[in-house]
Structures are given as structure tokens and as C-alpha cells.
């Protein structure tokens, strides 16, 4: 028997539950209670594409150091689902703990002798107090939270306050929940003293950070960014972006005087219709977006080509999930990069933004509307299920009240009357962006015909090769202009000089931060570049060319970002070593460390020989 794991403010708790049993809100409250103790947590839902009855897991990483990626491994398994018992028991690290409902006997062969078992007859306790089956189920969750809190040393007041806040509008529920909490707490105090070596102690590691999920942040970012039109079609994991937008609009965008809405949301009949409406609204001067996931982006391809070629501003929030086809709808990946970058037939290129967490997603979602109107083209906000559907601890959202929306180049009736020459696709400023007019602007000037068929710079239909090519060349130049407008990469130089670099992006960031710190401890130094947008600026190719070896960390099988970098930066593919995590779970620091450390020590050994 290995020594029981002992750790303060640094461990992983995993809850194994049945979908639809009400465990999610109880588990989230558990995570929040640790945050309220001032200790950072990272929580992740691992859930099935199902509403009721299938296994679901909730992982809470407690990290006094503030590491917010998945660590990998489990120190305390709260095994509440008999269906997944064997797998759950097997996943506990040696010396870890297994907490389970001991009301029904489980044969000794079903346990391991290298882990510590904490038994609590939850069903018995519950059935003795509650007769209603739904109550038995819901309060069972609260009872085990009460017990865990006692075992780990979470202050009872903290949980009681959280319950009070949660049921502020239903005060009748507060007392029974408090009672359930106390039942769990008291049982653990009386029967499980000293059973668990994992502890939470008060700290000051959370500061003013907030705990929020990315889709909520994206919806709020769209409100702040001035979106008035949203059209969408339900698809996991993006549905909650549209729902969040609607929720925030109801709160912030209803005219108090008239009760009328300063927004319009349509749940379309499919993704094709959703993007069609967004394009129509963008053409007509409203800030408009859709939110979808990979299969939706596949369906939107034809329209994306139209928006690119006819140069219509729009924003698409892609919450990436596991592909291809239906793939893993409830698992995370970064596997839509090629699909989005070159979406649609013919020669196209699209702007993509890669937020690292909900805070950056809030910013990028708002900024995407400025970019869309400035560049008159679709902007992809490439988040993923990990950011979108999990609560992340991140810096509070910030806004500058003096900030003005960049509505891009729009000619007004006054401009037209003043005699300004209007040609929809004329490059008058040398940045390859033309001026547009909005429908209804002027009785006799500035009307033009928008089309996806080939057109000349005056927006006239043409089949002349030269006139067509002139437009296509300008679109390439416009993509160059985009490089200076999109968020710049974040570059960090290692403490010591090194020929190794690492490039990563999106939700990989927290696991990467942790991995880099650990590698540094081992004396392995790497310069880092976090990509925040496509197209890549010169800083990206400079970084690549400045290193002999670049580790490129991605969450897909085919190293899609590598394809983009090789293709767009004209760099030598041999410089890249791909580190790929694509099993559908968020990448872990342990995985990155093992991959990078393995390669770096191997190469230095080779060099020594």
C-alpha cells in the first residue's frame, strides 16, 4: 500500500455521476466553495451527448499555484455511478482516495489495494430522511458535498452562503439544503475523521478573478461589441452562445421606456439559413453574428464564399468540438482550422481569432465586429468546447467607456452629395478596402448590386479575366491589411538563451503555462509564441526562423496549424515538431511536459554523443 496522498491546495477531485441526476449544480457549488476559500480551481465537465441516464464526470483541479489546465490523474474519486465503477476505480492515482456510496455491498474484488477507500452510506442516510424520490436524488448530491467539505476542510459557512445566493429567488429551498449539507458534514465528522489527506486551507490566490464559462463570455462580448442581429441553429457546444446573447440582451438591451428590444434574434431552420440572415443583416449595416460548431461551418461553406467575395462583414463564433462528421459532439478539439481558414470553394482566406480563455473570448468577440466592418469580411472566433462549456477562472472582464465602434468605411448621403466618387470595390486608400453604401442611403447615388458572381471594381458583373483578377488580387492585399489589425501574437523569451521555441494557441494556454514552468525547473528553456490570430503577422515567421526547432502544440490529429504556418509563412516544415492531443479531452500539462522533455533531453544527449 503506497502512502496515502497528502496535499494541501494541490489535488484533483473527480466526480462520476449519472447525467440528469442534478449533480452538476452541486458539483459546481463544490468548486465555487474552494474558490471562495481563496484557492484557484479549474473545473471541467466531461459529459455525453445525452440528456438523462448516461455517465458524466466533473473534474475539479485544486491548484494553490494557480495552474488552470488539466493536470491529468485523479487524487480523489467521488464514485456515484455504478455503470462506470471499474473505470473510475482504475483512474485513481496510487495512494489516492475513493469516496463512494456504501449503502449496497460491493465485492472486495471490485476495489484496489493501492488506494484508500472512504465509505459513506449515502442512500441509507438519504432514505431515512426523505421519502420523495426526486428529493432523495437531489439531496444526496448536497449531502456528499457536505461530507466532502468536512473531509477537505472547506468552511461550512462558505457553502451555506453559496446556497443562500443560489436560492435567493426561492428562499424556501435554503433551509432544506442547509440541512442536507449539515447531515453530510456531521456524518463525515463523526465517522470519517482522518480519512483523507487532501486539504483546502484559506489562501489569497484568487484575487479579483472571476469564474465564468466561455460561451457566456462570448454572448456578452457580442452585446458589448454592438451586435444587434443574431441568427443561429442549435448545435452542441455552441448553443449556449446564442442563449447567453439572448439572456444578456434581455438584461441590457431592452428600452426601459418602451419595453422594446434593441436586438433581433432568429433561431433559423438550419445553419445555412442562419448565416444567410447574418450576411443579409451585415450587408444592411447591422452588426450580426452566428454561433455554431464544425458541422455547422461545413454547411455554411457556400455562403462564406459569398461573404468573402462580395465583402460583407459578419462574425462567426465556432465552438470547436471533436470531428470529423458528427464526431465527438461533447468533447473538445481544435480541428476546424483548415475548414475555417479556407472555407468555401475557389480561392478564399478568412480571418480567425484564437482566444485563450473566457476573458480573451469576451474581448475578441467584441473586437470581431470592428474587424468585420473594417475589413468587410467574415471573422471567425475560434473557441472550443473546453473554453465554451467549462467555468474558467480568469481575469475580470474590462471595457473602456470611451471606446467607439469602428464601423469601417461607409459612405453617407452627405459624402455622396459632396461628390465623393463611389465605386464599391475601388481601392481608394491603398489598404485594399473599398467604401460601401448601405441600402436606402441616397435617392440617386451610391446604389450598387451585390453579387457572388464575378464583378469589377465598380461592382458590375464581368466575365473579363483582367477585371476579375484585379478584384482577386485586391482581396489578397486586403488580407495583408488584416495582418496589422488582428491581435498580435504574444511572445515570451526564456530566461536563458535557447534554440527551442514553442507555438501554441487557444485553450492550450493554461496547460502550456504549467508545462513551461515545470520544464524550466528541469532546466529546459523554450521561447514561446501564442498565436492569437490568422493571418499571421511577420512576427510569427520571424519567431519560427529564429529557432532551430519549434514545438507546435495543437489539439487535432493532422497538425492543422502547422499546415497553415508552413503554407502561409513559407517556413521550412522540418523546423516543426508537432505535439498533438486529440482524444477529445483537454490537453494536460503532464502530456506536454513528457512530449517536450522527451525530445529535448534526447536531442541534447544526441548532441553530447
Amino acid at each position: 500500500m503506497p502512502t496515502p496522498v497528502k496535499s494541501i491546495n494541490d489535488f484533483v477531485v473527480k466526480f462520476a455521476n449519472v447525467n440528469g441526476s442534478g449533480s452538476a449544480s452541486a458539483n459546481e457549488m463544490f468548486a465555487r466553495s474552494i474558490l471562495r476559500m481563496g484557492v484557484p480551481v479549474a473545473s471541467r465537465n466531461i459529459f455525453p451527448s445525452n440528456i438523462q441516464g448516461l455517465p458524466t464526470w466533473y473534474e475539479v483541479r485544486v491548484s494553490g499555484h494557480g495552474w488552470l489546465g488539466r493536470r491529468g490523474g485523479v487524487d480523489l474519486m467521488v464514485a456515484m455511478n455504478p455503470q462506470t465503477w471499474d473505470k473510475d476505480v482504475a483512474s485513481v492515482d496510487p495512494g489516492g482516495y475513493l469516496f463512494y456510496d456504501s449503502s449496497r455491498p460491493i465485492p472486495a474484488s471490485k476495489f484496489r489495494d493501492d488506494i484508500n477507500v472512504i465509505r459513506m452510506p449515502l442512500t441509507e442516510i438519504c432514505n431515512a430522511v426523505y421519502s420523495d424520490p426526486r428529493q432523495r436524488q437531489l439531496f444526496k448530491n448536497i449531502i456528499y458535498i457536505g461530507a466532502l467539505a468536512q473531509l477537505l476542510g472547506i468552511e461550512p459557512d462558505v457553502l451555506e452562503n453559496l446556497i443562500g445566493e443560489q436560492y435567493k429567488s426561492k428562499p424556501a429551498l435554503i433551509a432544506p439544503n442547509h440541512q442536507a449539507l449539515r447531515m453530510g458534514h456531521d456524518y463525515a465528522r463523526d465517522n470519517l475523521a482522518g480519512a483523507c489527506g487532501l486539504k483546502v486551507t484559506r489562501a489569497d490566490g484568487v484575487k479579483d478573478r472571476i469564474f465564468v464559462n466561455g460561451n457566456d463570455a462570448a454572448g456578452l462580448g457580442c452585446v458589448y461589441g454592438g451586435a444587434t442581429v443574431a441568427a443561429w441553429y442549435p448545435i452542441t457546444p455552441s448553443t449556449s452562445v446564442a442563449e447567453a446573447f439572448a439572456k444578456h440582451c434581455k438584461k441590457y438591451r431592452v428600452d426601459p421606456a418602451t419595453g422594446k428590444n434593441k436586438f433581433a434574434i432568429v433561431q433559423a431552420e438550419d445553419e445555412i439559413s442562419a448565416i444567410g440572415a447574418v450576411i443579409g443583416a451585415g450587408w444592411n449595416g447591422a452588426r450580426a453574428f452566428t454561433a455554431t460548431s464544425g458541422p455547422g461551418v461545413s454547411l455554411m461553406q457556400e455562403f462564406l464564399g459569398l461573404a468573402y467575395f462580395a465583402e460583407i462583414p459578419m462574425v462567426l463564433i465556432d465552438v470547436q468540438r471533436g470531428g470529423p462528421s458528427t464526431g465527438m459532439p461533447t468533447r473538445t478539439q481544435q480541428a476546424d482550422l483548415i475548414l475555417a481558414a479556407y472555407a468555401s470553394h475557389g480561392d478564399t482566406k478568412h480571418v480567425m481569432l484564437f482566444p485563450q480563455d473566457p476573458r480573451e473570448l469576451f474581448e475578441f468577440a467584441a473586437q470581431a465586429f470592428d474587424l468585420a466592418e473594417r475589413l468587410q469580411t467574415p471573422i471567425f472566433v475560434m473557441e472550443d468546447l473546453d473554453i465554451g462549456m467549462n467555468e474558467w477562472l480568469c481575469e475580470p472582464f474590462a471595457w473602456d467607456d470611451a471606446r467607439k465602434y469602428d464601423r469601417g468605411k461607409i459612405m453617407t448621403a452627405d459624402d455622396l452629395d459632396a461628390g465623393k466618387l463611389f465605386g464599391r470595390y475601388l481601392d481608394v486608400d491603398g489598404d485594399a478596402i473599398g467604401y460601401r453604401t448601405l441600402p436606402g442611403t441616397h435617392p440617386s447615388k451610391g446604389a450598387y448590386f451585390t453579387r457572388g458572381s464575378s464583378h469589377d471594381k465598380m461592382a458590375k458583373y464581368t466575365e473579363e479575366g483582367d477585371a476579375y483578377q484585379e478584384v482577386m488580387q485586391r482581396l489578397l492585399r486586403k488580407f495583408e491589411t488584416a495582418k496589422s489589425l488582428v491581435p498580435a501574437p504574444v511572445i515570451h523569451q526564456a530566461a536563458e538563451k535557447t534554440g527551442y521555441g514553442v507555438i501554441y494557441f487557444g485553450s492550450t494556454a493554461p496547460a502550456m503555462d504549467e508545462a513551461l514552468a515545470a520544464l524550466k525547473e528541469e532546466g529546459l528553456h523554450l521561447n514561446t509564441l501564442r498565436l492569437r490570430a490568422f493571418p499571421f503577422s511577420e512576427a510569427v515567421s520571424d519567431f519560427i526562423n529564429a529557432h532551430e526547432q519549434i514545438f507546435l502544440v495543437e489539439q487535432n490529429r493532422d497538425a492543422q496549424m502547422r499546415m497553415l504556418l508552413v503554407n502561409e509563412c513559407g517556413v521550412d516544415p522540418a523546423r516543426f515538431i508537432s505535439i498533438l492531443n486529440y482524444d477529445g479531452t483537454p490537453i494536460t500539462a503532464r502530456f506536454i511536459i513528457s512530449q517536450i522533455a522527451g525530445r529535448m533531453t534526447m536531442t541534447s544527449r544526441e548532441a553530447a554523443e
Binding site: G226, N261, A286, F449, R451
Partner: protein, 351 residues
């Protein structure tokens, strides 16, 4: 619509409407469709309707999909913004445009290939969403630009130019429009300008989803004996249920009708619609009856034309969405951005 390039000079005696615009101000570029194409007659009817209604051309947004019919928006209303979108998807683009600015008049032009096949889903959903628009389907029963394949509105037994018979059941877009909530449904024939113009005018004044199915023969691929969308066939089987007249508030009544054969319908802008009933029993405010009537006539190979259905109490998508009275595309940061105070409160509630 114009067949020939006209000189820019205008004759001082050209009639003008109450805005001072001549007919020419509502025209577009020269049509590139085949000589005799029914679609050109429809473009002419749209021009006439807008001229008579004295609509400011730039207050119309004209949108279309792909196909011969969808090319036509370049042939009328040259001072309007136009949008030739992708095949079968005009309805969604129009929906979004309308969401952005409720103050323009939205004219959607489509064909039977565009609306009844690839775009059937969008056709239905745009109407059931109540988008305030005039949706015209220029219906010729064939794919013209790809040279004569049957479309989904081709009648069973109708013959192609090459002699093949269509064995599939036709879709009747007018019936479908009524079923899914269009508050104004008309049907006409491109060879009958007198019927088309007032129908389009009435639709443009109607504040809800309007659909007009206009049978428009394809002279190149579907105007032969054995086709049920040929000029001769449609003329022989046209069963008009009523004739329309749009009357401005002070228009004198110049035509006498036998008592009981006309009905006046007030429109939202103060003008009215006078229906001359050709079938005394036909009541265009009765949706259920209208749907049954269409089916009964279709079973006898008769094409019902005229104002088929109108809901006098129509509303639109913006009423359902409860949007503010001003167009959404005109709102600024001040209206749209909740600001730092609200954000601070959001942050506080997530700790």
C-alpha cells in the same frame, strides 16, 4: 426592364408620378434574358407598380437567388440596392436584411428552381417567420439557365421540349405559402400585366409576408405543346377569381360594377383595394376556403389567379420580435453597449 438601350435624354412630356419621377427612374439595365421571356414582363410590372405607388426607388431593397428569374433585379429599380445571393437562399438573406432595417421595402425575386427545390426550406421558413416582404416567384416549370430540366413545379404529365414526361407530383407554392402563414397570397400570369401590376402594388403596401406566384413561360425551353406553363396553355386555363384596383383616398370611382360584385378593402396606408369579383362566391379573406378552392381547381387543370388570400390584420416578424421602432442598423454605442458599470456588476456576480 428594357430590351433596348434608351437615350439618356428624356422627353419633357413624359408622365411623372407625385414624386416627380418618370417611369424611366424605375428602370434598370438592359435585360439579357431571351426575347419574349415572361420574366421581362414581370420586371415591367414591378417598374409600373413602383411608379404608380410613387415609391422612392432607393427605399426598396431587391434580393434574389440564382437562376434566370434571380438575374432580373438588375433590370428594374437601378437606384435600389440589389443583392444576388446564392441558389435558393434569398429568403434568409432577405430575413437578415429586414432584421437590420425594418424601414425599407423588401422585394424578393426568385424562381421555381430556386424556391421549390433547393430553397424550399428557406421559402417556407421565411414566410412562417412573418418577414414583411413581397416575395415573387417567377414560375416557368423549368431550369432555364441549365437548359430545360423539369423543376418541382412542373405539372405531372407535362412534357419537356425533348418530349419526356414529368412523372413527379408538382409543388404548389401558393398553397404552401397559405399553409405556412403568408398573409397575402396572389397568383398571376406574366402575360396579364393588368392583373400583375395591382397585385404587386397591393402586396407592397401589405405589412406582412406576401407571396405572389407568377406563371412566366420560358420561351426557350418550356413554351411548346404539351407544356402546362406555355403561353397558350396558361391563357386557355387561367381562372381569375377577381380583378384588382388600387384606389388612392380621393380617387374617383370611374368604373361601374354590378352591385354585389365588388368589394372594397382598406389598406394600411389609407388607400384601398377594390376587388372586382369574377367568381361571386370567392372570399379572399377565408384562408381555409382559398386553400380548398385552389386544390379543387388544380384537380381540373385550371390555374386560379388573382388575389387568393389576404389577412387584413397582418403583423410581421418585427412585431413578434418586439424590436424598437427605429432600424437596428441605426443604433450606436450609446444604445448598444452596457458599459463598465454593468460589466463590474457582471464580474462581481461571478466571484
Amino acid at each position: 426592364m428594357t430590351y433596348i438601350v434608351k437615350p439618356k435624354l428624356r422627353h419633357p412630356a413624359l408622365p411623372v408620378n407625385k414624386l416627380g419621377f418618370t417611369h424611366r427612374d424605375y428602370e434598370g439595365t438592359v435585360s439579357t434574358l431571351c426575347a419574349g421571356c415572361g420574366h421581362d414582363s414581370i420586371s415591367a410590372a414591378i417598374i409600373q407598380a413602383c411608379f404608380e405607388l410613387a415609391i422612392e426607388p432607393h427605399r426598396v431593397a431587391k434580393l434574389s437567388g440564382i437562376g434566370c428569374s434571380s438575374k432580373t433585379p438588375t433590370y428594374f429599380l437601378g437606384q435600389s440596392h440589389g443583392f444576388n445571393s446564392v441558389h435558393g437562399r434569398m429568403p434568409s438573406v432577405l430575413t437578415g436584411a429586414n432584421m437590420a432595417n425594418k424601414d425599407l421595402i423588401y422585394l424578393g425575386v426568385s424562381g421555381d428552381g430556386d424556391s421549390a427545390s433547393i430553397g424550399l426550406g428557406q421559402f417556407v421558413h421565411c414566410i412562417r417567420r412573418g418577414v414583411n416582404m413581397v416575395y415573387i416567384c417567377e414560375n416557368n416549370g423549368v431550369y432555364g439557365l441549365t437548359k430545360g430540366q423539369f423543376s418541382a413545379t412542373a405539372d405531372k404529365g407535362s412534357k419537356s421540349k425533348g418530349g419526356a414526361s414529368n412523372m413527379d407530383t408538382p409543388l404548389d407554392l401558393a398553397s404552401m405559402a397559405m399553409m405556412v402563414g403568408a398573409s397575402f397570397v396572389g397568383r398571376s400570369f406574366s402575360g396579364d400585366k393588368e392583373q400583375m401590376v395591382p397585385l404587386i402594388m397591393a402586396a407592397m403596401r401589405h405589412p406582412g409576408p406576401c407571396f405572389i406566384d407568377i406563371v412566366s413561360p420560358c420561351v426557350a425551353f418550356n413554351n411548346h405543346a404539351g407544356s402546362t406553363k406555355a403561353y397558350d396553355f396558361v391563357r386557355a386555363h387561367n381562372e381569375a377569381v377577381n380583378r384588382l384596383d388600387i384606389m388612392e383616398p380621393r380617387d374617383p370611382i370611374t368604373v361601374e360594377y354590378a352591385p354585389g360584385t365588388t368589394e372594397e378593402v382598406a389598406l394600411h396606408d389609407g388607400s384601398s383595394l377594390r376587388l372586382a369579383k369574377l367568381d361571386a362566391d370567392y372570399d379572399p379573406s377565408d384562408r381555409i376556403m382559398a386553400m380548398a378552392y385552389l386544390q379543387a381547381k388544380a384537380a381540373r387543370n385550371e390555374l386560379v389567379t388573382g388575389l387568393i388570400y389576404m389577412d387584413r390584420h397582418a403583423t410581421d416578424m418585427h412585431a413578434n420580435l418586439n424590436t424598437v421602432d427605429v432600424p437596428l442598423n441605426g443604433l450606436s454605442e450609446k444604445d448598444l453597449c452596457p458599459g463598465t458599470k454593468a460589466l463590474d456588476a457582471f464580474n462581481a456576480s461571478h466571484r
